[in-house]
Symmetry: C2
């Protein structure tokens, strides 16, 4: 049975990416070797790394004033690395608290600098994106989480500020166009929209580095990885390859603009069903709803197991909501086709007919 993979992350990969990854795991490019057993300094992997970087630059129109890095440790490591590298002890950085991951980022930054949480939607279980907030004049940068996987909210309009931004884009990178020049630093764990777990993409403005007085271990300096082209130590070869393939796939399918249209169409169809189906209610504020992760509840919780069973019957997987929200979460990353969303919508419709 064909599976419809709504997992929040690690998440769906394009079929062609999986096929090519499968081949490379055994015999890369007819070399007789797995890509996993080749030197990371050899020509095969060097080409992979270069192409992955080029793909990122093409997709987001990233110029040479930015470095593109492939690191490890997930966004969770960027929570402290960003503050450690960019903010001095006496600086002030601002955070928008839009959910679990923003809160974690705030906690780590406090070890290194002064943190100003300028607004929070914790008062309503992070169901919206705060919009009316001011930064104090001495703010070095504003840290944002572009998409909140758990709560199903997404920043739709970037704040109009003179202040540079740093952004955790783990769950919506390459799902839409962004104004790269407004950001000093963009980071994203790959395992939601851009590849498998085990690699973290970092896009950083080179001129902002080296301005902080602090002893930083070599591996934790962005500059180290810039100087060594993401190969100061052995990089995560296979995850980077699968990321490169996924970026290839995005390019072949029209790039970020095409993804934006495609993602918006999927999300609109599902939200339309959530809003019109009498059995379900959406969790997030309508204007802040994420195109990546739709969170919704069954009004009658007693029906949960019946609905879950019906989803399972048609091959839907990964639809269970995060424990902090409950109910359901449909993650519809780039690689998900419209047909999978239609399968879910049909189940919801049929379920309403039976139980309405």
């Amino acid at each position: 049975m064909n599976k419809h993979n709504f997992s929040a992350g690690p998440a769906i990969l394009p079929d062609d990416v999986k096929r090519r990854a499968s081949i490379a795991a055994y015999d890369y490019d007819s070399t007789g070797l797995s890509l996993m057993e080749m030197s990371h300094r050899g020509k095969e992997f060097t080409q992979v790394l270069e192409r992955a970087e080029l793909n990122v630059r093409n997709l987001f129109k990233v110029d040479d004033s930015y470095a593109v890095l492939f690191l490890t440790g997930g966004a969770s490591s960027q929570f402290y690395m960003s503050a450690m590298n960019l903010a001095g002890k006496n600086d002030k950085i601002a955070y928008l608290d839009t959910g679990t991951w923003a809160k974690k980022a705030i906690k780590e930054a406090k070890l290194f600098t002064n943190v100003d949480v300028v607004a929070s939607s914790a008062d309503n279980n992070y169901s919206y994106i705060p919009k009316d907030y001011k930064l104090s004049d001495d703010t070095k940068y504003l840290h944002l989480t572009s998409n909140n996987t758990i709560f199903g909210t997404q920043i739709k309009t970037w704040p109009s500020l003179d202040c540079p931004m740093v952004c955790d884009m783990s769950s919506d990178i390459f799902s839409r166009n962004i104004p790269v020049e407004k950001f000093d630093l963009i980071y994203a764990g790959a395992q939601k929209n851009v590849g498998p777990a085990g690699v973290t993409l970092v896009i950083v403005k080179k001129e902002i580095l080296g301005k902080v007085e602090r002893d930083i271990p070599t591996m934790l300096k962005y500059q180290t990885h810039i100087d060594k082209g993401s190969s100061f130590n052995t990089p995560p070869v296979f995850p980077i390859y699968v990321t490169m393939l996924t970026l290839d796939w995005i390019i072949q399918n029209g790039g970020v603009s095409a993804m934006e249209v495609r993602n918006s169409k999927k999300a609109n169809a599902l939200y339309n069903e959530i809003d019109n189906n009498p059995l379900f209610t959406g969790c997030a504020s309508i204007e802040d709803r994420s195109d990546m992760n739709a969170t919704f509840l069954l009004n009658n919780e007693d029906l949960n197991s019946a609905f879950s069973a019906q989803c399972e019957d048609v091959g839907i997987v990964g639809l269970t909501g995060h424990r902090s929200v409950g109910g359901y979460r449909a993650s519809m990353y780039n690689a998900m086709g419209q047909e999978s969303v239609e399968v879910l919508i049909n189940v919801m419709k049929e379920f309403a007919q039976k139980n309405g």
Copy 2:
């Protein structure tokens, strides 16, 4: 043509491991999903992680007083994490400087504590393991590099000391039996003897943690990963799976004791040829020669390209020595069969007949 993969790392993987990895990359256990697109908290990957840990415990007889962790960032991250977590600002830790990686570990530790380099073989391009050294009484632990991939040396006899040891075993872990109880911390990047790049194995004595006064980012505390079973954040799913498969393979092939016999037999055969072939000279001191990486030179460098071509003709790859030593390096990790070593020996013999 069958390849004989002598790469230093990322390195050879067992054929069966590659086959199973290839299947899992497309369709894991007939689920219709790649392992790379499944939740790290789902039952499939939870089983992988548990089995990987159990395999480590079985192979090295690791009891519950130690935690077994699967992290990212390579041994290069353990260089600072070990000192950061285990050594206070006023403590003293000792290092044996046996090569490039030991030197890097020393550099990072100096950011956090007092470092006493008790002996070094830098005086002779790291071609031997220093043996006569004393630790001062206030030494908290001694840091060792068990095997020096670049120079082809290996610690054959562990020092008889009361002091606990911390050891980078990246290039010979699971190649031989070790007295785990003598170590407070063992770490290893997987990509040489235990899996692909992208995952780092850590075995740490639980009681030594939490004794250092220092602000440490959450991701950089061993305790965080112990408390969350290596899943505080999304772990590198696929590299951990391939590591689990490789550990399965070691167990199926007789465990660490069998690997030790097998590795010793391969190394002895090759060193015997190096010593008896008039064209070649070994680089490392005989008593410290590594069973994992044999370094050797052609006495007449003018023959290098002819020898390399002859190696290539029979499918030998990855034999070029590291730039700090030159010549050749034959890495013969667990997964390499005796037959590949025999192929190399035959090339050396034929080469001597033609050019002797």
